[in-house]
Symmetry: C2
């Protein structure tokens, strides 16, 4: 999606270490934006993106225009299933359909051996992983850790929307995840207690909470108690900017 | 889908002539049958199919069980667009979604250079062609002519459902296409006149007409007059057996 930050570059560097040829794709995908979302004002800086990827020794950049991937008579979409329904899929209907479709297209065009995605968009990563498995796409997917700024804010192209004051507020997301982790490390296993602690930190800072969820990280199904491989996932609005964050925990049963 | 006839074998022989390695796939795809359709009683004869393809010197046969392609947590589907909505898509909702999905899966599993489909299922062929184009699947598609029995009946695995008397009635499909062609050769260009002539032949023989359509063969859009590349497509029931047939015409403007 371009407007590259260190999160994207970390994927790129990992790909560079593990492969002979690395292709970067920069494409703000209209199909994954809802009608009232920020497609037209989504941040773009192609010149800077190209310079950054050249510095990382990209072999190829793929920078199609929207009409190249979606010509006038375009009509085939990849429809993900249950994994796409909760979390961001609930508040952004059609979003993961657009994501799955464009990723299928990009993978088929490049036919890479490996494709690198960030854990920051954890649900997206699972949807794509399931699509690759279900449709037998000939690629191995790698999910790479979230990259954060020094203050803990998970990197996102949308952080560029934030005023300095909003940015300060946005730190509540990472802070609440840290508090949750600490409570769990201390032995607390009730989902409700953790969610309440998270909400207590988010409520004063966010203009709206979209979700605070504690789920089975493998298939995003609900969990009763905190054990096994757990995802804590957050989404909310700082002013008008929608931000997400998450963490993965492995709790011995 | 197995229960192979000379139509399938003609595809296979063409593939054999044009390629070094040929794979046949036999899979009765549950995803393309509606809840009240004939999935469970669809004709099957794997032993015979294998013998036929061995005789044609198949390099590989791919014969997965339903759970191999659709395991319990299966959830990703390829959704075709406008091309899948008319004709058979109208009377068989979800059919082309199931077709597009399984063909995407089979193509990704085998990664062939070329894939061969029959013109008998013309709408299916167009839906698949568009999917290949839209999703950039790395394969070249070949659409091969309809193979008919001596009496003109287009070959279909479902012909095995017909009683001798029904089979006689089923000839009305091919006969009506021939009449239509003759009228067009004579210079008639009004769609209505052609459709009326076709219906007049079908009505006494079929238990129900599903559709008689004259369309632009490139995108299945309606045509006003008969000119350019035209598809005449028929579907109807002989007793309880649903049969389809079609012909392509190239009429100088």
């Amino acid at each position: 999606m371009g407007f590259l930050h260190e999160g994207h570059l970390s994927l790129f560097r990992k790909a560079r270490r593990e492969n002979d040829i690395v292709i970067g794709s920069i494409f703000v995908n209209p199909a994954q934006f809802g009608p009232h979302e920020d497609f037209s004002r989504y941040p773009r800086n192609l010149k800077r993106d190209c310079a950054l990827l050249a510095k990382e020794k990209a072999d190829w950049l793929f920078v199609p225009g929207p009409k190249a991937l979606y010509p006038g008579n375009y009509q085939t979409f990849v429809d993900p299933g249950a994994l796409a329904r909760g979390l961001c899929g609930r508040s952004r209907p059609g979003h993961f359909r657009g994501v799955a479709t464009v990723v299928a297209k990009l993978l088929n065009l490049a036919l890479p051996d490996r494709a690198y995605f960030g854990q920051k968009d954890y649900q997206q990563a699972l949807v794509i992983k399931k699509m690759i498995q279900d449709l037998h796409l000939p690629v191995k997917m790698k999910i790479c850790p979230i990259v954060r700024d020094r203050d803990g804010l998970a990197l996102s192209s949308r952080n560029s929307y934030l005023t300095p004051e909003e940015r300060e507020r946005a730190l509540c997301l990472a802070r609440s995840l840290n508090v949750a982790k600490r409570l769990i490390m201390k032995g607390i296993r009730e989902k409700r207690a953790i969610r309440t602690a998270i909400r207590k930190i988010l409520v004063p800072e966010l203009s709206r909470i979209d979700y605070v969820e504690i789920l089975d990280a493998r298939d995003l199904s609900p969990v009763k108690r905190i054990s096994g491989t757990i995802l804590i996932a957050l989404a909310g609005f700082v002013g008008k900017v929608r931000l997400i964050d998450n963490c993965l925990l492995n709790i011995p049963e």
